[in-house]
Protein backbone atom coordinates (compact mmCIF):
# COMPACT_ATOMS: atom_id res chain seq x y z
CA UNK A 1 0.00 0.00 0.00
CA UNK A 2 1.32 3.43 -0.86
CA UNK A 3 2.50 5.60 1.98
CA UNK A 4 0.13 8.25 3.16
CA UNK A 5 0.22 10.34 6.23
CA UNK A 6 -1.63 9.30 9.30
CA UNK A 7 -4.14 12.09 9.39
CA UNK A 8 -5.12 11.46 5.83
CA UNK A 9 -5.64 7.82 6.69
CA UNK A 10 -7.86 8.47 9.69
CA UNK A 11 -9.93 10.97 7.78
CA UNK A 12 -10.42 8.65 4.86
CA UNK A 13 -11.33 5.70 7.04
CA UNK A 14 -13.90 7.75 8.91
CA UNK A 15 -15.16 9.15 5.66
CA UNK A 16 -15.47 5.79 3.99
CA UNK A 17 -17.38 4.36 6.95
CA UNK A 18 -19.64 7.35 7.02
CA UNK A 19 -20.18 7.20 3.28
CA UNK A 20 -20.90 3.55 3.42
CA UNK A 21 -23.49 4.14 6.10
CA UNK A 22 -25.08 6.94 4.11
CA UNK A 23 -25.16 5.17 0.80
CA UNK A 24 -26.51 1.93 2.19
CA UNK A 25 -29.36 3.89 3.66
CA UNK A 26 -29.86 5.64 0.37
CA UNK A 27 -29.71 2.39 -1.51
CA UNK A 28 -32.43 0.91 0.64
CA UNK A 29 -34.64 3.84 -0.01
CA UNK A 30 -33.90 3.71 -3.69
CA UNK A 31 -34.64 0.05 -3.91
CA UNK A 32 -37.98 0.48 -2.25
CA UNK A 33 -38.85 3.32 -4.53
CA UNK A 34 -37.92 1.34 -7.57
CA UNK A 35 -39.86 -1.67 -6.41
CA UNK A 36 -42.93 0.42 -5.84
CA UNK A 37 -42.82 2.63 -8.86
CA UNK A 38 -41.09 0.48 -11.43
CA UNK A 39 -42.04 -3.13 -11.65
CA UNK A 40 -39.17 -5.31 -12.91
CA UNK A 41 -40.71 -6.01 -16.24
CA UNK A 42 -40.37 -2.40 -17.34
CA UNK A 43 -36.85 -2.52 -18.66
CA UNK A 44 -35.10 0.60 -19.87
CA UNK A 45 -35.53 4.03 -18.41
CA UNK A 46 -37.70 6.45 -20.30
CA UNK A 47 -34.97 8.39 -22.02
CA UNK A 48 -35.18 8.82 -25.72
CA UNK A 49 -31.73 10.27 -26.29
CA UNK A 50 -28.84 7.90 -25.95
CA UNK A 51 -25.33 9.31 -26.10
CA UNK A 52 -23.65 6.13 -27.27
CA UNK A 53 -25.35 3.68 -29.53
CA UNK A 54 -23.95 0.43 -30.85
CA UNK A 55 -25.74 -0.97 -33.85
CA UNK A 56 -24.84 -4.56 -34.62
CA UNK A 57 -21.26 -3.64 -33.79
CA UNK A 58 -18.45 -6.18 -34.11
CA UNK A 59 -14.76 -5.74 -33.55
CA UNK A 60 -12.15 -8.09 -34.97
CA UNK A 61 -8.52 -8.67 -34.08
CA UNK A 62 -7.35 -10.21 -37.34
CA UNK A 63 -10.01 -12.84 -37.95
CA UNK A 64 -10.86 -13.30 -34.28
CA UNK A 65 -13.86 -11.40 -33.00
CA UNK A 66 -13.27 -9.38 -29.85
CA UNK A 67 -16.93 -8.50 -29.60
CA UNK A 68 -19.67 -9.43 -32.03
CA UNK A 69 -23.09 -8.09 -32.91
CA UNK A 70 -23.42 -5.71 -30.01
CA UNK A 71 -26.51 -3.55 -30.06
CA UNK A 72 -27.06 -1.31 -27.07
CA UNK A 73 -27.72 2.27 -26.13
CA UNK A 74 -25.92 4.07 -23.34
CA UNK A 75 -27.75 6.93 -21.69
CA UNK A 76 -26.33 10.29 -20.67
CA UNK A 77 -25.59 11.33 -17.06
CA UNK A 78 -25.65 7.81 -15.78
CA UNK A 79 -23.12 5.21 -14.87
CA UNK A 80 -23.25 2.19 -17.10
CA UNK A 81 -21.28 -0.81 -15.91
CA UNK A 82 -19.99 -3.49 -18.23
CA UNK A 83 -19.42 -6.77 -16.43
CA UNK A 84 -18.47 -10.24 -17.48
CA UNK A 85 -15.75 -12.87 -17.17
CA UNK A 86 -12.18 -12.27 -18.40
CA UNK A 87 -11.81 -12.25 -22.15
CA UNK A 88 -15.48 -11.55 -22.71
CA UNK A 89 -14.76 -8.47 -24.77
CA UNK A 90 -15.85 -5.87 -22.27
CA UNK A 91 -12.59 -3.94 -22.49
CA UNK A 92 -12.55 -4.33 -26.25
CA UNK A 93 -15.96 -2.74 -26.44
CA UNK A 94 -14.99 0.07 -24.07
CA UNK A 95 -11.82 0.76 -26.01
CA UNK A 96 -13.76 0.88 -29.27
CA UNK A 97 -15.75 3.84 -28.02
CA UNK A 98 -12.80 6.23 -28.25
CA UNK A 99 -11.03 4.18 -30.91
CA UNK A 100 -7.94 3.67 -28.82
CA UNK A 101 -7.99 0.11 -30.14
CA UNK A 102 -6.83 1.61 -33.42
CA UNK A 103 -3.29 1.35 -32.08
CA UNK A 104 -3.41 -2.41 -32.52
CA UNK A 105 -2.50 -3.56 -36.03
CA UNK A 106 -4.83 -5.70 -38.14
CA UNK A 107 -8.14 -4.76 -36.65
CA UNK A 108 -11.43 -4.10 -38.36
CA UNK A 109 -14.98 -3.37 -37.37
CA UNK A 110 -18.41 -4.23 -38.67
CA UNK A 111 -21.69 -2.57 -37.87
CA UNK A 112 -21.90 0.92 -36.48
CA UNK A 113 -21.01 2.72 -33.29
CA UNK A 114 -22.42 6.17 -32.67
CA UNK A 115 -21.29 8.77 -30.16
CA UNK A 116 -23.45 11.88 -30.09
CA UNK A 117 -25.19 10.65 -33.24
CA UNK A 118 -21.92 10.52 -35.12
CA UNK A 119 -20.75 7.29 -36.66
CA UNK A 120 -17.29 7.16 -35.11
CA UNK A 121 -15.93 4.56 -37.50
CA UNK A 122 -16.81 6.60 -40.57
CA UNK A 123 -13.92 8.05 -42.56
CA UNK A 124 -14.87 11.65 -41.84
CA UNK A 125 -14.49 11.37 -38.11
CA UNK A 126 -11.83 13.51 -36.48
CA UNK A 127 -10.10 11.21 -34.02
CA UNK A 128 -8.65 14.07 -32.00
CA UNK A 129 -12.13 15.53 -31.45
CA UNK A 130 -13.58 12.14 -30.66
CA UNK A 131 -10.95 11.42 -28.03
CA UNK A 132 -11.37 14.82 -26.46
CA UNK A 133 -15.09 14.17 -26.17
CA UNK A 134 -14.66 10.64 -24.91
CA UNK A 135 -12.07 10.62 -22.12
CA UNK A 136 -10.50 7.48 -20.77
CA UNK A 137 -9.15 6.28 -17.45
CA UNK A 138 -7.02 3.16 -17.52
CA UNK A 139 -6.69 0.14 -15.29
CA UNK A 140 -3.28 1.08 -13.97
CA UNK A 141 -2.82 4.74 -13.09
CA UNK A 142 -0.65 6.10 -15.90
CA UNK A 143 0.34 9.68 -15.15
CA UNK A 144 3.08 11.04 -17.38
CA UNK A 145 6.50 11.48 -15.74
CA UNK A 146 5.83 15.20 -15.43
CA UNK A 147 4.57 17.53 -12.74
CA UNK A 148 0.97 17.38 -11.53
CA UNK A 149 0.23 20.63 -13.31
CA UNK A 150 1.74 19.50 -16.61
CA UNK A 151 -0.17 16.24 -16.46
CA UNK A 152 -3.52 17.97 -16.25
CA UNK A 153 -2.50 20.76 -18.62
CA UNK A 154 -1.48 18.24 -21.27
CA UNK A 155 -4.94 17.93 -22.80
CA UNK A 156 -5.64 21.69 -23.05
CA UNK A 157 -2.12 22.23 -24.41
CA UNK A 158 -2.84 19.72 -27.17
CA UNK A 159 -5.80 21.89 -28.07
CA UNK A 160 -3.36 24.76 -28.52
CA UNK A 161 -4.14 26.61 -25.30
CA UNK A 162 -0.98 28.39 -24.18
CA UNK A 163 -2.20 31.14 -21.93
CA UNK A 164 -1.02 30.47 -18.41
CA UNK A 165 -4.15 31.85 -16.72
CA UNK A 166 -6.48 29.70 -18.81
CA UNK A 167 -4.37 26.62 -18.19
CA UNK A 168 -4.23 27.42 -14.50
CA UNK A 169 -7.99 27.65 -14.31
CA UNK A 170 -8.57 24.45 -16.27
CA UNK A 171 -6.11 22.58 -14.10
CA UNK A 172 -7.74 23.82 -10.93
CA UNK A 173 -11.24 22.98 -12.09
CA UNK A 174 -10.25 19.55 -13.30
CA UNK A 175 -8.41 18.72 -10.10
CA UNK A 176 -11.38 19.94 -8.11
CA UNK A 177 -13.77 17.79 -10.13
CA UNK A 178 -11.51 14.84 -9.47
CA UNK A 179 -11.47 15.59 -5.72
CA UNK A 180 -7.72 15.96 -5.72
CA UNK A 181 -7.31 19.73 -5.54
CA UNK A 182 -7.21 20.00 -1.76
CA UNK A 183 -4.51 17.37 -1.50
CA UNK A 184 -2.17 18.79 -4.14
CA UNK A 185 -2.95 22.49 -4.49
CA UNK A 186 0.18 23.60 -2.63
CA UNK A 187 2.49 21.46 -4.67
CA UNK A 188 1.42 21.39 -8.29
CA UNK A 189 5.05 21.30 -9.39
CA UNK A 190 5.66 17.98 -7.66
CA UNK A 191 6.21 14.97 -9.92
CA UNK A 192 3.01 13.06 -10.51
CA UNK A 193 4.91 9.85 -9.87
CA UNK A 194 5.42 10.87 -6.24
CA UNK A 195 1.67 10.62 -5.54
CA UNK A 196 0.07 7.54 -4.01
CA UNK A 197 -1.67 5.06 -6.29
CA UNK A 198 -5.14 6.37 -5.51
CA UNK A 199 -4.05 9.97 -5.97
CA UNK A 200 -2.42 9.05 -9.28
CA UNK A 201 -5.66 7.52 -10.47
CA UNK A 202 -7.61 10.63 -9.48
CA UNK A 203 -4.97 12.67 -11.29
CA UNK A 204 -5.62 10.57 -14.38
CA UNK A 205 -9.33 11.27 -13.98
CA UNK A 206 -8.57 15.00 -13.69
CA UNK A 207 -6.41 14.72 -16.79
CA UNK A 208 -9.25 13.07 -18.69
CA UNK A 209 -11.66 15.78 -17.50
CA UNK A 210 -9.36 18.59 -18.62
CA UNK A 211 -10.54 18.33 -22.21
CA UNK A 212 -14.17 18.75 -21.06
CA UNK A 213 -15.37 15.40 -22.40
CA UNK A 214 -18.98 14.29 -22.56
CA UNK A 215 -18.22 10.68 -21.86
CA UNK A 216 -15.74 9.14 -19.46
CA UNK A 217 -14.64 5.58 -20.11
CA UNK A 218 -13.17 3.74 -17.14
CA UNK A 219 -11.38 0.48 -17.69
CA UNK A 220 -11.30 -1.23 -14.28
CA UNK A 221 -10.16 2.00 -12.65
CA UNK A 222 -9.87 0.52 -9.17
CA UNK A 223 -8.33 -2.86 -9.80
CA UNK A 224 -4.84 -1.61 -8.89
CA UNK A 225 -5.99 0.27 -5.80
CA UNK A 226 -6.49 -0.48 -2.14
CA UNK A 227 -10.00 -0.41 -0.61
CA UNK A 228 -9.74 3.14 0.73
CA UNK A 229 -8.56 4.56 -2.57
CA UNK A 230 -11.23 2.50 -4.28
CA UNK A 231 -13.99 3.97 -2.16
CA UNK A 232 -12.72 7.46 -2.94
CA UNK A 233 -12.89 6.75 -6.66
CA UNK A 234 -16.38 5.31 -6.27
CA UNK A 235 -17.52 8.43 -4.43
CA UNK A 236 -16.02 10.45 -7.21
CA UNK A 237 -17.89 8.49 -9.86
CA UNK A 238 -21.06 9.21 -7.92
CA UNK A 239 -20.50 12.98 -8.20
CA UNK A 240 -19.12 12.93 -11.73
CA UNK A 241 -22.21 11.39 -13.20
CA UNK A 242 -24.03 14.67 -12.65
CA UNK A 243 -21.89 16.18 -15.39
CA UNK A 244 -20.61 13.27 -17.41
CA UNK A 245 -21.75 10.01 -18.86
CA UNK A 246 -19.66 7.25 -17.39
CA UNK A 247 -19.06 3.80 -18.80
CA UNK A 248 -17.13 1.58 -16.44
CA UNK A 249 -15.73 -1.88 -16.98
CA UNK A 250 -15.28 -3.75 -13.75
CA UNK A 251 -14.49 -7.20 -12.48
CA UNK A 252 -15.83 -6.34 -9.10
CA UNK A 253 -19.55 -7.02 -9.04
CA UNK A 254 -20.15 -5.28 -5.74
CA UNK A 255 -18.61 -2.24 -7.34
CA UNK A 256 -20.88 -2.49 -10.37
CA UNK A 257 -23.86 -2.82 -8.05
CA UNK A 258 -22.73 0.15 -5.95
CA UNK A 259 -21.92 2.66 -8.65
CA UNK A 260 -24.00 1.94 -11.71
CA UNK A 261 -27.57 2.55 -12.81
CA UNK A 262 -27.38 0.35 -15.86
CA UNK A 263 -25.40 -2.83 -16.31
CA UNK A 264 -24.46 -4.85 -19.34
CA UNK A 265 -23.35 -8.44 -19.05
CA UNK A 266 -20.92 -9.61 -21.73
CA UNK A 267 -19.88 -13.18 -22.32
CA UNK A 268 -17.62 -14.58 -25.05
CA UNK A 269 -17.81 -11.36 -27.02
CA UNK A 270 -21.57 -11.15 -26.97
CA UNK A 271 -23.95 -8.94 -25.08
CA UNK A 272 -26.03 -11.33 -23.02
CA UNK A 273 -28.14 -8.95 -21.03
CA UNK A 274 -28.44 -5.20 -20.60
CA UNK A 275 -30.77 -3.74 -18.05
CA UNK A 276 -31.12 -1.72 -14.89
CA UNK A 277 -28.38 -2.66 -12.47
CA UNK A 278 -30.89 -3.51 -9.77
CA UNK A 279 -32.57 -5.92 -12.10
CA UNK A 280 -29.36 -7.50 -13.37
CA UNK A 281 -28.30 -8.22 -9.82
CA UNK A 282 -31.57 -9.23 -8.29
CA UNK A 283 -33.69 -10.68 -11.02
CA UNK A 284 -31.78 -11.26 -14.26
CA UNK A 285 -33.78 -12.69 -17.10
CA UNK A 286 -30.93 -14.74 -18.52
CA UNK A 287 -29.61 -17.89 -16.87
CA UNK A 288 -25.97 -17.09 -17.76
CA UNK A 289 -26.26 -13.65 -16.16
CA UNK A 290 -27.74 -15.15 -13.06
CA UNK A 291 -24.95 -17.73 -12.79
CA UNK A 292 -22.37 -15.00 -13.18
CA UNK A 293 -23.76 -12.45 -10.73
CA UNK A 294 -24.42 -15.07 -8.12
CA UNK A 295 -20.84 -16.28 -8.49
CA UNK A 296 -21.55 -19.69 -9.89
CA UNK A 297 -19.32 -19.13 -12.87
CA UNK A 298 -16.74 -16.71 -14.21
Amino acid sequence: MPKRNNNDMVISVVKSIKDKYDTSELEMIDMEKIEQTEPYNSTLPEKSLSIIKADDFSFYYGSKAGVKNISMEIYPFMVTAIIGPSGCGKSTFLRSINRINDLIPNIHVEGKLFVNNQDIYSRQINLVNLRQQVGMVFQKPNPFPKSIFDNVAYGPRLQGIKKRSVLQQTVEESLQSAALWDEVKDDLKKSALALSGGQQQRLCIARALSTRPKVLLMDEPCSALDPIATSKIEDLIETLKNDYTIVIVTHNMQQAARVSEMAAFFCLGELIEYDLTTKIFSNPSNKQTEDYVTGRFG
Binding site: L103, P105, R157
Partner: protein, 286 residues
Protein backbone atom coordinates in the same frame (compact mmCIF):
# COMPACT_ATOMS: atom_id res chain seq x y z
CA UNK B 1 32.14 -29.35 -4.07
CA UNK B 2 35.80 -29.63 -4.92
CA UNK B 3 35.01 -29.36 -8.62
CA UNK B 4 32.97 -26.23 -7.93
CA UNK B 5 35.90 -24.63 -6.18
CA UNK B 6 38.30 -25.39 -9.02
CA UNK B 7 35.96 -24.01 -11.66
CA UNK B 8 35.35 -20.94 -9.56
CA UNK B 9 39.06 -20.26 -9.21
CA UNK B 10 39.68 -20.91 -12.91
CA UNK B 11 36.92 -18.54 -13.98
CA UNK B 12 38.12 -15.89 -11.57
CA UNK B 13 41.58 -16.07 -13.10
CA UNK B 14 40.15 -15.71 -16.61
CA UNK B 15 38.04 -12.75 -15.55
CA UNK B 16 40.94 -11.09 -13.76
CA UNK B 17 43.26 -11.50 -16.72
CA UNK B 18 40.75 -9.68 -18.92
CA UNK B 19 40.63 -6.81 -16.48
CA UNK B 20 44.36 -6.89 -15.94
CA UNK B 21 44.97 -6.21 -19.62
CA UNK B 22 42.97 -3.01 -19.17
CA UNK B 23 45.05 -2.12 -16.15
CA UNK B 24 48.30 -2.93 -17.95
CA UNK B 25 47.40 -0.83 -20.99
CA UNK B 26 46.41 2.08 -18.79
CA UNK B 27 49.57 1.88 -16.74
CA UNK B 28 51.76 1.51 -19.80
CA UNK B 29 50.20 4.38 -21.74
CA UNK B 30 50.37 6.71 -18.76
CA UNK B 31 53.90 5.65 -17.85
CA UNK B 32 55.11 6.35 -21.37
CA UNK B 33 53.06 9.46 -21.95
CA UNK B 34 52.93 11.39 -18.69
CA UNK B 35 56.66 12.23 -18.32
CA UNK B 36 56.78 14.15 -21.59
CA UNK B 37 53.72 16.18 -20.65
CA UNK B 38 55.44 17.09 -17.40
CA UNK B 39 58.71 17.88 -19.13
CA UNK B 40 57.21 20.05 -21.88
CA UNK B 41 54.74 21.53 -19.42
CA UNK B 42 50.97 21.01 -19.55
CA UNK B 43 50.47 24.50 -20.95
CA UNK B 44 52.84 24.03 -23.86
CA UNK B 45 51.57 20.56 -24.52
CA UNK B 46 47.83 21.19 -24.53
CA UNK B 47 47.58 24.86 -25.42
CA UNK B 48 50.12 25.17 -28.17
CA UNK B 49 49.61 24.28 -31.81
CA UNK B 50 53.27 23.86 -32.66
CA UNK B 51 53.93 20.22 -33.39
CA UNK B 52 57.53 19.98 -34.61
CA UNK B 53 58.83 16.72 -33.19
CA UNK B 54 62.24 17.31 -34.80
CA UNK B 55 62.71 20.52 -32.80
CA UNK B 56 61.25 19.11 -29.62
CA UNK B 57 58.03 21.10 -29.89
CA UNK B 58 55.04 19.02 -28.96
CA UNK B 59 51.85 21.10 -28.92
CA UNK B 60 48.69 19.16 -29.61
CA UNK B 61 46.08 21.92 -29.36
CA UNK B 62 45.29 21.87 -33.08
CA UNK B 63 44.69 18.17 -32.96
CA UNK B 64 42.45 18.42 -29.92
CA UNK B 65 40.45 21.04 -31.76
CA UNK B 66 40.46 18.83 -34.85
CA UNK B 67 39.18 15.84 -32.91
CA UNK B 68 36.50 17.86 -31.15
CA UNK B 69 35.34 19.58 -34.36
CA UNK B 70 35.10 16.36 -36.31
CA UNK B 71 33.33 14.63 -33.42
CA UNK B 72 30.88 17.48 -32.92
CA UNK B 73 30.00 17.45 -36.60
CA UNK B 74 29.64 13.68 -36.57
CA UNK B 75 27.39 13.73 -33.55
CA UNK B 76 25.13 16.41 -35.03
CA UNK B 77 24.69 14.35 -38.17
CA UNK B 78 24.44 11.07 -36.28
CA UNK B 79 21.96 12.50 -33.78
CA UNK B 80 19.62 13.93 -36.39
CA UNK B 81 19.59 10.85 -38.57
CA UNK B 82 19.95 8.27 -35.80
CA UNK B 83 17.17 9.69 -33.66
CA UNK B 84 15.05 10.17 -36.78
CA UNK B 85 15.54 6.52 -37.66
CA UNK B 86 14.74 5.43 -34.13
CA UNK B 87 11.52 7.46 -34.03
CA UNK B 88 10.40 6.13 -37.40
CA UNK B 89 11.26 2.57 -36.48
CA UNK B 90 9.45 2.66 -33.16
CA UNK B 91 6.51 4.95 -33.86
CA UNK B 92 5.62 5.26 -37.50
CA UNK B 93 6.95 2.45 -39.65
CA UNK B 94 4.70 -0.53 -40.32
CA UNK B 95 6.08 -3.77 -38.99
CA UNK B 96 7.11 -5.09 -42.42
CA UNK B 97 9.34 -2.06 -42.93
CA UNK B 98 10.89 -2.35 -39.46
CA UNK B 99 11.89 -5.92 -40.20
CA UNK B 100 13.92 -4.67 -43.18
CA UNK B 101 15.16 -1.32 -41.84
CA UNK B 102 16.45 -2.32 -38.42
CA UNK B 103 18.83 -5.08 -39.58
CA UNK B 104 19.91 -2.82 -42.46
CA UNK B 105 20.99 -0.12 -40.03
CA UNK B 106 22.72 -2.68 -37.84
CA UNK B 107 24.68 -3.94 -40.86
CA UNK B 108 26.19 -0.45 -41.10
CA UNK B 109 28.05 -1.25 -37.90
CA UNK B 110 29.67 -4.25 -39.52
CA UNK B 111 31.22 -2.42 -42.47
CA UNK B 112 34.99 -2.01 -41.91
CA UNK B 113 36.03 1.57 -41.35
CA UNK B 114 38.50 1.52 -44.21
CA UNK B 115 35.54 0.99 -46.55
CA UNK B 116 33.84 4.08 -45.16
CA UNK B 117 37.07 6.00 -45.62
CA UNK B 118 37.46 4.74 -49.15
CA UNK B 119 33.93 5.73 -50.14
CA UNK B 120 34.54 9.08 -48.46
CA UNK B 121 37.67 9.70 -50.53
CA UNK B 122 36.22 8.50 -53.80
CA UNK B 123 32.71 9.95 -53.57
CA UNK B 124 32.40 12.57 -50.86
CA UNK B 125 35.71 14.40 -51.16
CA UNK B 126 35.28 15.32 -54.85
CA UNK B 127 31.68 16.37 -54.20
CA UNK B 128 32.65 18.69 -51.36
CA UNK B 129 35.62 20.08 -53.32
CA UNK B 130 33.50 20.78 -56.35
CA UNK B 131 30.38 22.23 -54.75
CA UNK B 132 31.60 23.79 -51.50
CA UNK B 133 35.23 24.56 -52.22
CA UNK B 134 38.39 23.88 -50.28
CA UNK B 135 40.50 20.79 -50.74
CA UNK B 136 37.60 18.45 -50.08
CA UNK B 137 39.55 16.66 -47.38
CA UNK B 138 38.00 18.52 -44.48
CA UNK B 139 36.16 18.63 -41.17
CA UNK B 140 32.86 18.49 -43.04
CA UNK B 141 33.76 15.39 -45.01
CA UNK B 142 35.05 13.55 -41.95
CA UNK B 143 31.98 14.58 -39.99
CA UNK B 144 29.68 13.14 -42.63
CA UNK B 145 31.63 9.88 -42.82
CA UNK B 146 31.81 9.56 -39.04
CA UNK B 147 28.16 10.57 -38.71
CA UNK B 148 27.17 7.61 -40.83
CA UNK B 149 29.50 5.38 -38.85
CA UNK B 150 27.93 6.27 -35.49
CA UNK B 151 24.41 5.98 -36.89
CA UNK B 152 23.93 2.32 -35.89
CA UNK B 153 25.13 2.97 -32.33
CA UNK B 154 22.78 5.90 -31.83
CA UNK B 155 19.87 4.27 -33.61
CA UNK B 156 19.94 0.94 -31.86
CA UNK B 157 20.38 2.40 -28.36
CA UNK B 158 17.66 4.99 -29.01
CA UNK B 159 15.30 2.31 -30.30
CA UNK B 160 15.89 0.33 -27.11
CA UNK B 161 15.25 3.26 -24.78
CA UNK B 162 12.18 4.41 -26.71
CA UNK B 163 10.77 0.91 -26.60
CA UNK B 164 11.41 0.84 -22.86
CA UNK B 165 8.99 3.77 -22.34
CA UNK B 166 5.86 2.24 -20.77
CA UNK B 167 3.09 1.70 -23.30
CA UNK B 168 0.68 3.26 -20.83
CA UNK B 169 2.20 6.70 -21.50
CA UNK B 170 1.35 6.38 -25.16
CA UNK B 171 -2.16 5.15 -24.38
CA UNK B 172 -2.69 8.03 -21.98
CA UNK B 173 -1.61 10.63 -24.51
CA UNK B 174 -3.57 9.12 -27.39
CA UNK B 175 -6.66 8.93 -25.20
CA UNK B 176 -6.37 12.66 -24.60
CA UNK B 177 -6.55 13.31 -28.31
CA UNK B 178 -2.85 13.63 -29.04
CA UNK B 179 -1.75 12.80 -32.54
CA UNK B 180 1.04 10.30 -33.03
CA UNK B 181 3.60 13.04 -33.47
CA UNK B 182 2.39 14.94 -30.41
CA UNK B 183 2.56 11.75 -28.39
CA UNK B 184 6.04 11.06 -29.69
CA UNK B 185 7.64 14.39 -28.99
CA UNK B 186 5.67 15.52 -25.95
CA UNK B 187 5.57 12.27 -24.02
CA UNK B 188 7.70 9.47 -25.38
CA UNK B 189 10.86 11.37 -26.29
CA UNK B 190 10.64 13.33 -23.03
CA UNK B 191 10.43 10.12 -21.05
CA UNK B 192 13.33 8.61 -23.00
CA UNK B 193 15.39 11.79 -22.88
CA UNK B 194 18.24 10.65 -20.68
CA UNK B 195 18.62 7.33 -22.48
CA UNK B 196 18.81 9.13 -25.80
CA UNK B 197 21.42 11.48 -24.39
CA UNK B 198 23.46 8.47 -23.32
CA UNK B 199 23.17 7.11 -26.87
CA UNK B 200 24.58 10.37 -28.24
CA UNK B 201 27.48 10.30 -25.84
CA UNK B 202 28.35 6.69 -26.64
CA UNK B 203 28.22 7.64 -30.33
CA UNK B 204 30.57 10.50 -29.53
CA UNK B 205 32.99 8.11 -27.88
CA UNK B 206 32.98 6.01 -31.02
CA UNK B 207 33.49 9.01 -33.28
CA UNK B 208 36.39 10.47 -31.34
CA UNK B 209 38.20 7.13 -31.28
CA UNK B 210 37.79 6.35 -34.96
CA UNK B 211 41.09 6.44 -36.84
CA UNK B 212 41.24 4.81 -40.24
CA UNK B 213 38.33 6.52 -41.97
CA UNK B 214 39.36 9.88 -40.54
CA UNK B 215 42.96 9.58 -41.75
CA UNK B 216 41.60 8.99 -45.24
CA UNK B 217 39.23 11.96 -45.43
CA UNK B 218 40.36 14.59 -42.92
CA UNK B 219 43.44 15.81 -44.78
CA UNK B 220 45.68 15.52 -41.70
CA UNK B 221 47.10 19.05 -41.95
CA UNK B 222 48.65 20.41 -38.77
CA UNK B 223 47.33 23.95 -39.12
CA UNK B 224 44.55 25.34 -37.04
CA UNK B 225 41.34 25.00 -39.10
CA UNK B 226 39.40 28.19 -39.83
CA UNK B 227 36.28 26.74 -41.42
CA UNK B 228 34.62 23.37 -41.70
CA UNK B 229 36.07 23.09 -45.19
CA UNK B 230 39.64 23.12 -43.88
CA UNK B 231 41.60 19.92 -43.36
CA UNK B 232 42.46 18.85 -39.82
CA UNK B 233 44.45 16.22 -38.04
CA UNK B 234 42.81 14.40 -35.15
CA UNK B 235 44.49 12.93 -32.09
CA UNK B 236 43.98 9.40 -33.34
CA UNK B 237 45.32 10.09 -36.84
CA UNK B 238 48.38 11.74 -35.35
CA UNK B 239 49.27 8.59 -33.44
CA UNK B 240 48.60 6.28 -36.36
CA UNK B 241 50.45 8.43 -38.89
CA UNK B 242 53.63 8.98 -36.89
CA UNK B 243 53.95 5.88 -34.76
CA UNK B 244 55.83 4.01 -37.47
CA UNK B 245 58.92 6.23 -37.44
CA UNK B 246 58.76 7.93 -34.04
CA UNK B 247 61.49 7.37 -31.48
CA UNK B 248 62.53 8.81 -28.14
CA UNK B 249 60.67 11.93 -27.08
CA UNK B 250 58.59 11.94 -30.23
CA UNK B 251 57.37 8.46 -29.39
CA UNK B 252 56.60 9.54 -25.85
CA UNK B 253 54.68 12.53 -27.14
CA UNK B 254 52.53 10.21 -29.20
CA UNK B 255 51.82 8.21 -26.06
CA UNK B 256 50.88 11.47 -24.39
CA UNK B 257 48.44 12.10 -27.24
CA UNK B 258 47.04 8.70 -26.42
CA UNK B 259 46.72 9.67 -22.77
CA UNK B 260 44.71 12.74 -23.78
CA UNK B 261 42.41 10.65 -25.93
CA UNK B 262 42.09 8.08 -23.21
CA UNK B 263 41.01 10.67 -20.67
CA UNK B 264 38.49 12.28 -23.04
CA UNK B 265 36.88 8.92 -23.83
CA UNK B 266 36.84 7.92 -20.16
CA UNK B 267 35.04 11.14 -19.30
CA UNK B 268 32.47 10.61 -22.06
CA UNK B 269 31.80 7.01 -21.06
CA UNK B 270 31.44 7.93 -17.43
CA UNK B 271 28.93 10.62 -18.29
CA UNK B 272 26.98 8.17 -20.46
CA UNK B 273 26.99 5.52 -17.74
CA UNK B 274 25.90 7.97 -15.07
CA UNK B 275 23.05 9.26 -17.19
CA UNK B 276 21.78 5.83 -18.15
CA UNK B 277 22.10 4.55 -14.58
CA UNK B 278 20.19 7.53 -13.30
CA UNK B 279 17.38 6.96 -15.79
CA UNK B 280 17.36 3.24 -15.01
CA UNK B 281 17.05 4.13 -11.32
CA UNK B 282 14.15 6.43 -12.11
CA UNK B 283 12.44 3.73 -14.13
CA UNK B 284 12.87 1.23 -11.31
CA UNK B 285 11.15 3.56 -8.86
CA UNK B 286 7.94 3.64 -10.91
Amino acid sequence: MKQDKIIQIALTIVALSAISSLVLITVFVFKEGLPIILRVGAKDFFLSGDWYPGEGKFGIMNMIIGSLAVTAGAIIIGAVFGLGCAVVLTQFAPRQLVVILKPAIEVLAGIPSVVYGFIGVVVLVPLVREYLGGPGLSILTSSIVLGIMVLPTITSISVDVIQAVPKSYRDGAIALGATRWQTTHMVILKAAKSGILAAFILGMGRAIGETMAVIMVAGNALELPHSILDPVRTLTSNIALEMGYAAGEHRQALFATGVTLFVIIMILNTIALTISRRSAGKAAKK
